[in-house]
């Protein structure tokens, strides 16, 4: 259950940003979760609720976005989406591909009062 470590990182950043902007209460936080991370949304919510209890973040909603894992084939120049964790070009079978975004685990936006 490494979501607790992830939530601790998340909360540290939110706290810092809220202080910097003089925010009193967190309404929501938007996060981007890459398809190649092993994050379970329910566990993330569960840990966030526990850690933020009694803080200005209590009750805030985590809005999770799961961007598609895009790839580009160097051999045939095709762009495609990686599905079922197969890292090979579906058109020409090449393994020379560039991927974009699968390991994202980032905080994008806060909504605060």
């Amino acid at each position: 259950m490494h979501e607790m470590s992830i939530v601790m990182g998340l909360v540290d950043i939110i706290k810092e940003e809220m202080e910097r902007h003089g925010a009193k209460r967190l309404c929501s936080v938007r996060v981007k979760i890459g398809k190649l991370t092993a994050v379970v949304p329910e566990a993330l919510n569960f840990c966030f609720d526990i850690i933020t209890k009694g803080t200005p973040m209590e009750g805030a909603k985590i809005i999770m976005e799961f961007p598609p894992l895009k790839a580009y084939c160097i051999d045939c120049n095709k762009e495609f989406e990686i599905e079922e964790y197969v890292f090979r070009c579906p058109s020409c079978g090449s393994e020379k591909i560039l991927t974009d975004g699968g390991r994202d685990l980032s905080i994008e936006e806060l909504e605060v009062d």
Partner: protein, 215 residues
């Protein structure tokens, strides 16, 4: 009010891991982050590897476990420096835990450092510790469906060691299925089939280590 942020949630760990990496590089130490499920054979692999290589390569070990020092005691018998981390419940090692160990471990004489992660097929893959390579073990008794079920670790690893192949006659495990599904996830993955019990296949693993130390 909306605040645009765009920051990596694991930025604190990434920073510490990069600093660890700099420390290792400065000391000329090659670092392998060894990961697997509990019981796949991490410590036995280390015992075998240390016995075979310690006369030519100065090796150190960091042992990560939720609790106990059983593994560190096993490694200590081989006469190489070892530090035990107890995570007290955490399911993976992170950059900071490894950094703490460096106070007790003199890197100067070392050339190769193994960090044995907590036994777990999911979480350790998510956290960098400053390693040069992640290496994972999958034992044949765990089943040939594991790459498809736990893709991240197979994606992040440079080497997959398929261990306990001496047990293949007694179980149903399709090695080709492991190889094919692991290479779908990570086409560049090096795969060595080994038995830490009989020693079969370990030569290729030792050669991989030596080649990396030489480059």
């Amino acid at each position: 009010m909306k605040i645009k942020v765009v920051r990596d949630i694991l930025e604190a760990n990434q920073r510490i891991a990069s600093e660890n990496r700099e420390i290792f590089t400065r000391h000329g130490v090659f670092v392998i982050n060894l990961m697997s499920s509990p019981g796949a054979g991490k410590t036995t692999l280390l015992e075998r590897t240390i016995e075979s290589l310690k006369d030519t390569i100065p090796i150190g070990v960091i042992e990560g476990d939720i609790r106990s020092s059983i593994d560190a005691e096993r490694i200590n018998k081989l006469g190489v420096p070892v530090v035990q981390i107890n995570t007290d419940g955490a399911c993976h090692l992170d950059g900071n835990m490894v950094r703490e160990c460096l106070r007790e471990l003199d890197l100067s004489p070392l050339r190769l450092l193994f960090v044995e992660n907590v036994g777990n097929l999911v979480c350790p893959a998510e956290f960098k510790i400053g390693e040069d390579h992640k290496v994972m073990i999958l034992s044949v008794t765990e089943g040939d469906d594991k790459p498809s079920k736990y893709p991240l670790m197979f994606r992040e690893s440079s080497v997959l060691l398929i261990n306990k192949i001496d047990l293949l006659p007694y179980i149903e495990c399709d090695l080709e299925r492991i190889r094919a599904s692991a290479r779908d996830i990570n086409p560049g993955l090096e795969i060595f089939e080994i038995s830490c019990k009989t020693g079969e296949g370990l030569d290729r693993w030792y050669r991989w280590i030596k080649n990396n130390l030489a480059s």
